[in-house]
């Protein structure tokens, strides 16, 4: 009896997760289809997109530059010091290209934007749902995917790509400073090492990975926010579920990108 009950629970949970996944994928398909449809774009979309890029990237810029300089310099300084200690000086270029540009830049940017904009978007959607504002849009035949979701998703994708690139540039420049201090390396020697270690493919991977992060850290909060209940008590639950799933998505994309790189 206990065995059957345990199996029932397991099966119930599996079915529930399967239903949830199907709905999520259906929602992703609907959003993705609109992303590539010309009919989705109107002057209003451009206005909202501009505002969202301002909220997501421009407002964050000062803080982001300070964090990039502090965290990036600290990280690269410590690591270059360790590299010198263990005698792997010849791998500085690979370290900066492989770890800093391809891994650290997108993940740091994504975490910052997910915490700031992802949570805000999640709460905004859940509050709009609870206040019946999403119903109001539907009542006026306004497609919420076109009006609300698309500009936010594109804005965050663009912001993550641009800020990741900025982070990579700032940390690479910090590397110049620390390689001069630790190894006594001149600008030309450093530039030569970096140029040899970084390929065009790396820039492409950085762009694609950042764009994928940007898509999911917006899409998931939008999904969970817009599926919240009509009570205000549903708002924190929707934010909690959304942000936990954002974290899972970040880990999954990171693992998949590592697997793709080393295959």
């Amino acid at each position: 009896m206990n065995g059957v009950s345990w199996l029932e629970k397991l099966g119930g949970a599996a079915l529930e997760n399967w239903r949830e996944l199907r709905q999520l994928l259906g929602f992703a398909y609907a959003v993705f289809r609109r992303l590539f449809s010309r009919a989705s774009y109107r002057p209003l979309t451009v206005d909202i997109l501009t505002t969202q890029i301002y909220f997501t990237a421009v407002q964050l810029l000062g803080f982001f530059i300070v964090v990039s300089i502090l965290f990036g310099s600290l990280f690269i300084g410590m690591t270059l010091f360790v590299i010198k200690e263990i005698g792997l000086t010849e791998y500085i270029g690979q370290f900066i290209a492989g770890v800093v540009v391809l891994e650290m830049a997108p993940i740091m940017t994504t975490l910052l934007i997910a915490l700031r904009s992802g949570s805000a978007i999640n709460a905004e959607m859940a509050v709009m749902k609870a206040n019946r504002e999403l119903d109001a849009l539907a009542a006026f035949d306004i497609d919420i995917a076109q009006y609300l979701f698309l500009p936010r998703i594109i804005a965050v994708m663009v912001s993550v790509v641009l800020l990741s690139s900025l982070f990579a540039i700032i940390v690479t420049l910090s590397g110049l400073l620390f390689s001069a201090l630790i190894f006594g390396m001149g600008f030309n020697a450093y530039a030569d090492i970096i140029a040899k270690a970084i390929e065009y493919k790396d820039f492409l991977i950085l762009m694609v990975k950042s764009a994928a992060f940007g898509f999911f850290i917006t899409f998931i909060p939008l999904y969970y926010g817009s599926r919240a209940g009509y009570q205000l008590t549903a708002v924190p639950v929707a934010v909690l579920r959304g942000m936990v799933n954002v974290f899972i998505a970040i880990v999954v994309i990171e693992v998949l990108s590592l697997v793709a790189r080393f295959l």
Binding site: R42, L44, D47, V127, E133, D135, A139, F140, D141, I142
Partner: protein, 133 residues
């Protein structure tokens, strides 16, 4: 495509993160793909006609029930070729004693050929007929 309705209802709120102006402008910006400049000109003219320009920058929580009702009516009027459905107007505006303010507003809107529907309760019949029409 079935008939289109533009509701004026307590259950269909204004968007709280947009101003009165933006709430009204949104409908035509979306459906008629107007640019911000075109929409600004048209919405300003509409608010001027109703002497409501002082409300333009306000958010829904800053409005009294009467202003909120008429802003919703202006928003509904922007939905082209849609019948305006006013849901229980006396429940939305507490101290409105008859329909004449709504009739005046509809006359000011001057949207010939578009249907207007008012939904209400039988026990309010007296108030609906109070101005003798």
């Amino acid at each position: 495509m079935g008939p289109r309705y533009a509701p004026v209802s307590a259950d269909i709120p204004l968007l709280s993160n947009l101003s009165v102006f933006q709430n009204i402008a949104l409908i035509r910006q979306y459906h008629q793909r107007l640019t911000a400049e075109d929409s600004h000109r048209d919405t300003t003219a509409l608010l001027e006609r109703f002497d409501m320009c002082h409300l333009a920058a306000k958010r829904s929580f800053e409005l009294n029930d009467r202003d909120l009702f008429f802003v919703k009516l202006l928003r509904a009027s922007q939905h082209a070729n849609a019948a305006i459905v006013i849901d229980r107007p006396f429940a939305q505006v507490e101290n409105m004693h008859n329909l004449s303010p709504i009739r005046k507003a509809l006359e000011l809107l001057d949207f010939s050929g578009i249907e207007g529907i008012i939904l209400g309760y039988e026990w309010n019949r007296g108030r609906y007929e109070a101005d003798g029409q």
